[in-house]
């Protein structure tokens, strides 16, 4: 175990861990406001990327493709809440039915996109290009990696500040503590739910532009990161935004470290092993507390 390998593991682990952390955050904002685990978060990420490559292939400028992808995916997330989840909530559908509906949305979006756009994975250029920075012969980091680190910090900080300082953010927090009390103080639960789904969709949509430049974008792109984001959420806990951040970064670093220092065939299972271990020790997650769900 050399210093260079530890540095590379940290750089690579924080890179993929940031992606997991952001997706975990997108689950978090929805689950704390609504109690709903939205399986489709990975698909909003995928749709944003697919829209991006489509707009770029039509010759639109990068900035337009970027905005178009994010707006399109976020709109779809809000539409899912308005057209599927809200009617179910009005009919007081059980949690199981709601979860099934979300699972259905995930499948429809995933395979529908594949049918419309095609099945091939495509590259999506990143905002920082493809420059590689070397630190010696055994450590490298991509220019896109710095974008990922920076964007992750900015998004988490923004969400935390928004939840503390804005009326809508505080409404979300109040709803998470006690929905009835929130209604009594004038919070519109429908609005909160829509905002939560929209915010979750927005975060997932931004993730596409961080992740896809280093991987690819295709109709299955959201599947694995979506699951890992979900795992990261429960590793970190749902009592504060710090939970997704810690869970995601820890998961990313452990995954890369496992691939580096153990036979890499174990790396894939490390996510689930870590989840089980953490939940055994702390069922509410690493940062779990009184309000965790």
């Amino acid at each position: 175990m050399t210093l260079a390998s530890v540095v590379q593991v940290l750089l690579s682990g924080l890179q993929i861990g940031s992606i997991y952390a952001l997706l975990a955050l997108s689950y978090y904002v929805i689950i704390i406001a609504t109690g709903i685990l939205n399986f489709a978060q990975g698909e909003w990420m995928m749709v944003s990327g697919i829209l991006g490559v489509t707009f770029l292939s039509l010759g639109l400028p990068y900035s337009i493709a970027f905005c178009g992808g994010i707006v399109g995916a976020t709109t779809l997330a809000i539409a899912a809440e308005r057209l599927v989840i809200r009617p179910l909530q009005k009919r007081q559908a059980s949690e199981a039915i709601t979860l099934l509906a979300l699972f259905g949305i995930m499948l429809v979006v995933r395979y529908g996109t594949g049918a419309i756009h095609g099945r091939l994975d495509e590259p999506l250029p990143g905002p920082a290009g493809t420059h590689v920075f070397r630190l010696g012969s055994n450590v490298f980091v991509f220019s896109q990696s710095f974008v990922i680190y920076g964007a992750t910090a900015a998004i988490f900080l923004s969400v935390v500040l928004w939840m503390r300082l804005s009326w809508l953010g505080r409404s979300l927090r109040i709803t998470a503590i006690d929905p009835l009390a929130a209604v009594l103080v004038g919070v519109n639960l429908n609005t909160v739910r829509m905002v939560a789904f929209g915010l979750g969709g927005l975060i997932a949509a931004i993730v596409a532009w961080l992740y896809a430049p280093l991987f690819a974008v295709g109709y299955l792109t959201g599947a694995i990161p979506g699951i890992k984001g979900f795992i990261a959420l429960f590793i970190g806990g749902t009592s504060s935004p710090l939970g997704p951040l810690v869970g995601g970064l820890l998961l990313g670093v452990m995954e890369v470290a496992a691939a580096r220092y153990l036979p890499s065939i174990y790396a894939e299972g490390i996510a689930f092993a870590l989840l089980m271990f953490i939940l055994f020790l702390r069922p509410s997650g690493l940062i779990g507390g009184r309000r965790s769900q």
Binding site: Q8, S12, D121, L214
Partner: protein, 390 residues
């Protein structure tokens, strides 16, 4: 002279000319269609190569029917989605059988191809695959109703092994794979056969699916001291990330892959890191027959069908099947099966120049030797010409 007789003679001459002319170019096929069934993965992990084959088959059938079909009868292909699931595949084979298909073509994954082989054999329907590579599909003796033309896994690997011995002597190998079913099945087979051939495998690495880079795996491979790295699997983005990390860490070990790298966006995803990547292929792109078929596919579908080996194989396979149905002179499944088995010295565009297809009661494969496998290299960002190494 009687003007009526002159007019009548002219009309007859014109009619004869038209008849002879249309016979030379072929009247479009009419009449009761000959049904061929095909199962494919429409939406899941194998769809990216399934759908390429479907497009090729659609175009071939259109052209074939316009040229007269089978003795004037059109061919109609009934497609069913196997959902990349062997259980679903068996159900779809039953459905196709009940619809009266005379032949079934497997253009999904090898796993579903195996399911079709089991079920269609029970139903006594001739069937086969243009591009399923799994070695388990070939048995000794061959399954009576099964015929295929793709590279056999053992010959693909055999050619790679010959190349390794010839170029590198007795190199230490590392194997890098993805965790798709295809990746695991192919890599397990390759590892077993490479070990039997006397190669020393110093590292086996798996790329974590969906990861943004594969630095850990690339460093472990570099540390293993392997002289050559074998990259096998079906998840192109994951393996492209390995290849990029391999080059970034300046690992001088050359990279050799399996034939699936030609489908999917490998060149776009790996970029300049793909330069020098060697892989086995069923296609020699310098053959004029291949260029002709490729030209038709590109004209109809654009560049996404360009140089796609699976699409070219699907075209040629349909040509073989339709020829057999013609020779059978009947809709009868047994007669079609017998005609397939009687295929002899059939010129085929797959493989090296001069390749012909001959089936027999003891052989239902096109490829019978690793010497028939083409090895190609990525050059200047393109899937390059065959290597002349033998």
């Amino acid at each position: 002279m009687n003007q009526g007789k002159v007019a009548g003679a002219l009309i007859c001459a014109a009619a004869l000319t038209l008849t002879l002319t249309s016979a030379a170019f072929g009247e479009p096929a009419t009449g009761k269609p000959i049904l061929i069934g095909a199962h494919l993965d429409q939406a899941k992990q194998a769809s990216y190569y399934s759908l390429l084959q479907k497009d090729s088959i659609d175009l071939f059938v259109k052209e074939f029917n316009e040229a007269g079909g089978v003795n004037g009868r059109p061919v109609q292909v009934l497609f069913e989605d196997d959902e990349n699931n062997p259980v679903t595949t068996a159900i779809k084979v039953d459905k196709l059988a009940s619809e009266g298909v005379e032949y079934i073509v497997s253009i999904g994954s090898s796993a579903t191809g195996l399911a079709t082989q089991a079920r269609a054999s029970e139903l006594k329907i001739p069937h086969g695959a243009p591009a399923n590579l799994a070695e388990q599909l070939t048995t000794d003796p061959p399954k009576r109703y099964y015929f295929r033309i793709p590279l056999r896994g053992k010959y693909e690997l055999g050619a790679v092994a010959q190349y390794l011995h010839k170029k590198y002597g007795a190199p230490k190998l590392a194997v890098v794979r993805d965790t798709t079913q295809t990746g695991l099945v192919i890599s397990d087979q390759w590892i077993n056969d490479l070990k039997k051939d006397g190669f020393n495998i110093t590292a086996l690495e798996q790329v974590t699916p969906g990861s943004t880079e594969a630095s850990s795996q690339a460093l472990r491979v570099k540390d293993s001291g392997a002289d050559v790295v074998i990259v096998v699997g079906g998840s192109i983005p994951d393996l492209a990330n390995y290849i990029k990390a391999h080059k970034l860490f300046e690992n001088p070990a050359p990279l050799i892959g399996n034939s699936l790298f030609t489908a999917g966006g490998f060149l776009k995803l790996a970029g300049i890191a793909a330069e020098g990547f060697v892989y086995p292929d069923a296609i020699d792109p310098s053959r004029t027959e291949i260029q002709e078929i490729d030209g038709k596919l590109v004209k109809a579908y654009g560049d996404r069908l360009k140089n796609q080996a699976v699409a070219l194989q699907a075209w040629e396979y349909m040509r073989v099947v339709c020829d057999a149905i013609k020779r059978a002179g009947s809709d009868d499944r047994e007669k079609i099966r017998d005609a397939m088995e009687a295929t002899k010295d059939f010129p085929i565009a797959i493989g090296p120049p001069g390749m012909t297809l001959t089936y027999s009661p003891t052989n239902h494969d096109l490829f019978t030797s690793p010497d028939q496998v083409v090895l190609r290299e990525v050059r200047n960002g393109e899937f390059g010409p065959p290597l002349r190494w033998r």
